[in-house]
Subunit: 226 residues, 2 copies
């Protein structure tokens, strides 16, 4: 499948590499291709500049947000939550219309330090904001409850015996995303309901952050026991 | 141990009965003893009036909030979240001082219908509000992530192979509560940290509510896989 992964951060990179490894035709979307390739500083701990990463992942292409989305059948939003609506605006409503838009972002607000708070919650969610802003996209919220590494390859933790969620208004889109999740190794995908149910997994983040703090690792997930 | 369970609703009843069964000396606290005993209407689905419940649980005593707290070594707050601070005020700061105060309540706001929202979140929590209002109590937030039935007897779900949390500023109080939880059958108790970490388990409630909706049962919990 032709997949656009919007976002050049660690989550975008890990998902793009894994989807390419599974045989998908993957293009990463960024704001400005030239600027992204010109950066020479390391992007983060253990993260090379994007150009070096791209050299090491030669089957992945790079395009601007609009170009990446235009060519794709399915679009993954792996941009920073605070910049998501702007990034999707640059991708263009016309390039998202009718397409499955997989939203893995989180509405994290780091302005008051750590741990971050949520800039939208409880009576609304980032997933819903995206669906309202792009009514013709078929938004599915998922995977925001995991590190990028576990999103892309859940089997590295307990053989994948833990749970992820899908929320969205379009049943076919959720089914397509569930199949994609299963191809990554997710063994327990719970359909929470319409896009308003994205409030649940987004509001789980404060617990996830504190579990990371208490356990000293982000290599964790929850399994829903029932 | 002498334990006061504040609250005559389903969670209070279930915890009181189970703690009595384990051999503790349990008194349930209510606002007005006479009014509580005078109610003849069923308290809820499958719930008899409190007087009938008390007749069926003869080892449990009933007192007003202050009387119950005064006689107890450990106090459980199982009142409705919206009424918690008022109820604890009636229990009296002097009757809570120095005692472990186990808070199992949730800051649920039903004013806009179902599912409820949270009346405090993200930058504060009900656990913190209680600790600030009663600085001499040793508040431990726990069990708010479960139905009363699973709080009291976790083994009925998957033999108890799932997780609960403790948050609080007093390490000894958390250790005492962890031991009490283990005596109920809780096999995995994670210490999240100080009382501010209560924001995590309280903000998990919106996910829990949607899991209940999606799965059609409240007999569920999460296991933290790590």
């Amino acid at each position: 499948m032709k997949i656009a992964v919007l976002g050049t951060g660690s989550v975008g990179r890990i998902l793009a590499a894994r989807l390419a490894e599974l045989g998908h035709d993957v293009v990463v979307g960024t704001r400005e291709v030239a600027a992204t390739l010109a950066r020479t500083a390391a992007a983060g701990r253990d993260e090379p500049p994007f150009a070096a990463w791209l050299d090491a992942n030669p089957t992945v292409a790079l395009a601007d947000y609009a170009g990446a989305a235009a060519s794709a059948e399915l679009v993954v939003n792996a941009t920073n939550g605070a910049g998501t609506l702007a990034a999707l605006g640059q991708a263009g409503a016309e390039n998202l219309a009718g397409k499955v838009l997989v939203d893995v972002s989180n509405p994290l607000d780091f302005s008051a330090g750590m741990p971050p708070t949520l800039f939208v919650k409880d009576t609304d969610s980032l997933g819903e904001q995206i669906q309202r802003a792009f009514p013709d996209a078929r938004v599915v919220k998922t995977l925001n409850t995991l590190t990028g590494a576990l999103q892309a390859d859940p089997a590295v933790l307990a053989g994948g015996d833990h749970t992820v969620f899908v929320s969205g208004d379009d049943a076919e889109a959720k089914q397509a995303v569930t199949s994609l999740l299963e191809s990554l190794g997710h063994r327990d995908v719970i359909d929470l309901g319409d896009i308003t149910t994205a409030r649940g997994p987004e509001m789980y983040l404060p617990l996830w952050l504190r579990l990371w703090g208490a356990l000293g690792t982000g290599q964790l997930n929850i399994k829903v026991v029932r």
